[in-house]
Symmetry: C2
Subunit: 411 residues, 2 copies
């Protein structure tokens, strides 16, 4: 079994504006790789009672609790005090830490204020953890087999201290046990279809599989545990193989891969280039493609032809086609793909036209109707989609389908 | 004082892949508007002991605890059982709920399985909450002045039930006290500059101000409390006025406004149109503009000219300019803006060229160097930026600067 861990992010600001607890996301991934499993996360405001009560709850059900935030010099920073209260020990000023603080400030020709000296306060018996990047030390407390670690909330400080103090501790406590994780990315199938194909693989010996739908994609999370790294690795790789056998070419990549990065890598291998002509996605496809570093090696550019007269002027769509079939139609999608390819002198052209809503739909051409076309060497394909979701989802799903169409056409 | 609330999201899947607790984000905003303040949030896996322990912790420090998830029919759904354990009461099958479940399934010609009947289990004495959208009822428990509500994790069901059952309860309990909140959006200033300008306004009588940096923007969160809605509204509006007096035209909007929506509204009022020519942002600017519903009324389209020869062919940039100054230069940015405007026959043209990295930088033209140009009726402006951050941030910040440049030029 992996070491059970919980994370607590401290800070009233984290509870405003739907902010993301980025420290927690980072810690979760690193702890997981080191052999711990994060089974609970909490956000609490700067109230010391609330912090102490959350530490009590988390420590009651995990072997390791990591707090981030609330260690700075301001009045809002109450984590030290909360930990002392939970531990039932007094908060004492550590003379060695005071000296270090003065030495640190002296290097910048300054003297710490009384408030800043609060950073040298330590619950009696806790171990201060050195901060290689900033002034606030961390804290390590042990109680009844549970280790509680407090780290600063500044991401660079938190990361450096987690790497120096927390991850070695986890690797040590996780002992021989090892954990391996991977995400497989699937395109071209609905979540329910993937679910049906892999349902019997959700729980295997030492493995867990989870499924998550994205915009036009499905992600499979694989986790494997073992008594040592080789066993865990073997189990992960067997599960990976079983999934790929079921899903075939619908699995387009793993972990950091994106549809755009995988498609771009295939273009680069083939020494070929891409151009796009977008109506309803209006730049989103080009932006997804160029999010990949080095995309200038295989992406030429494209046109965003939102107005119909620009479909004619910039993408070379014949006016008769627009008149006969309307802008949202299979022939216009084909013409956009061919126009992108010709105008930008690329090997491959992708064209997208559709109705993203919320307005503009009709009974015949409802919101969510999108045509995606591909034109390439000896290749011409169109897909007609009827996408659910709001404007943003319809646009993102159209981008996924377009990239997937090209990916499957490439060697 | 606002009613103290805490949120608990239940589900192992929420602890994988860095997923966002979207239900919690939504609830936090709605509860806040109804007069509650969310002071803690937690994510726990599907373990009933862990759920019960978190309910105990949250109920110990809040007057209202809202759980989402774990009410479905599968083995993973353990919230009912955890609440019964925390409450110290047995879990009983409610015959009325069983009948409702059968009636609901009968409408689709089906019969609930024994697993699906688990959704009719209720901790003795808890109030079942009707689910107008799905089959899993919610639950309401009261203990020692604390109300605990459990809602399904499916967003549409959760929202409908929160609106029907939870928000009225909050408005009722918040009584006469009222809370008002607003976010002001600021462009064209660094977070530290905004911070310096508003520092003395962070805490006022019955008001709290918080600051948060976005990509090329700064967001100010305003909250005001009062003994009745008029007092809260008056305080919010005084703070709003004070902030706008300090920041002037740098405040571009409030709440749901975006730079693109505000700029688009100004274009629509003026009866004018926009076109773009993008190199390093490569579609991201066009995509941001067209994320606004109805943008077809004022956005014509544009060109994505990633390859230099397309800057000439599609945006009409003179080859001599490229040779003399390089693609990332002030004259080329100007030519892109003018080219966009001319090619797409728009009133305004925006051009962006720069080095988004991670590669491609030189000592003279480092990563983060971006030129943004605007061309319009009697107007020609260029801004040279040296942006920090990674590829994604550099591109998003460039988009914000481009939109802000146009916004300030419009009447």
């Amino acid at each position: 079994m992996a070491l059970a861990a919980e994370l607590i992010a401290v800070g009233s600001e984290l509870l405003r504006f739907g902010r993301r607890d980025g420290n927690g996301d980072w810690l979760q991934e690193r702890l997981s790789r080191a052999g711990a499993e994060v089974l609970g996360r909490a956000l609490v405001d700067d109230d010391p009672d609330r912090i102490a009560s959350q530490v009590a709850a988390s420590a009651g059900r995990a072997s390791l609790v990591v707090l981030t935030g609330g260690l700075g010099p301001t009045e809002d920073d109450r984590t030290r005090e909360a930990l002392a209260a939970w531990w039932g020990r007094p908060l004492l000023r550590d003379p060695a830490l005071v000296r270090e603080l003065h030495a640190r400030f002296a290097r910048f020709g300054r003297v710490p204020s009384p408030e800043q000296e609060r950073q040298a306060d330590v619950p009696q018996g806790a171990v201060p953890l050195a901060n290689p990047v900033g002034s606030a030390p961390g804290l390590l407390l042990s109680r009844g087999g549970v280790q509680v670690v407090a780290l600063p909330g500044v991401p660079a400080e938190m990361r450096a201290m987690a790497e120096a103090h927390v991850l070695p501790l986890v690797r040590d406590r996780a002992g021989g046990a090892a954990l391996r994780a991977r995400v497989l990315h699937v395109a071209g199938r609905l979540e329910s279809e993937v679910d049906g194909a892999v349902a019997d693989l959700y729980a295997g010996e030492g493995t867990v599989l989870t499924i998550l739908a994205g915009a036009g994609e499905v992600h499979l999370g694989l986790r494997a545990e073992g008594s040592d790294p080789a066993v865990a690795e073997g189990r992960l790789s067997s599960l990976d193989t079983a999934l790929r056998a079921r899903l075939g070419a619908d699995v387009y990549g793993a972990d950091g891969d994106t549809l755009a990065s995988v498609t771009g890598a295939a273009l680069a291998r083939a020494g070929q280039t891409l151009a796009v002509a977008e109506s309803c996605t209006a730049g989103l496809l080009a932006a997804a493609v160029t999010a990949v570093p080095g995309s200038s090696g295989w992406f030429r550019g494209g046109v965003v032809v939102y107005a119909d007269d620009l479909k004619v002027a910039l993408a070379g769509v014949p006016e008769e086609l627009l008149r006969a079939h309307g802008a949202v139609s299979e022939p216009v999608a084909r013409a956009l793909a061919e126009g992108a390819r010709a105008t930008a002198r690329a090997d491959w052209g992708l064209g997208v036209t559709g109705i993203a809503g919320p307005g503009g739909g009709t009974a015949e051409k409802p919101v969510g109707l999108v045509f995606v076309a591909l034109s390439g060497p000896g290749v011409g394909k169109v897909r007609c989609l009827r996408l659910p979701g709001d404007r943003e989802l319809i646009r993102r799903r159209s981008v996924a389908v377009a990239l997937d169409l090209l990916r499957r056409a490439l060697p």
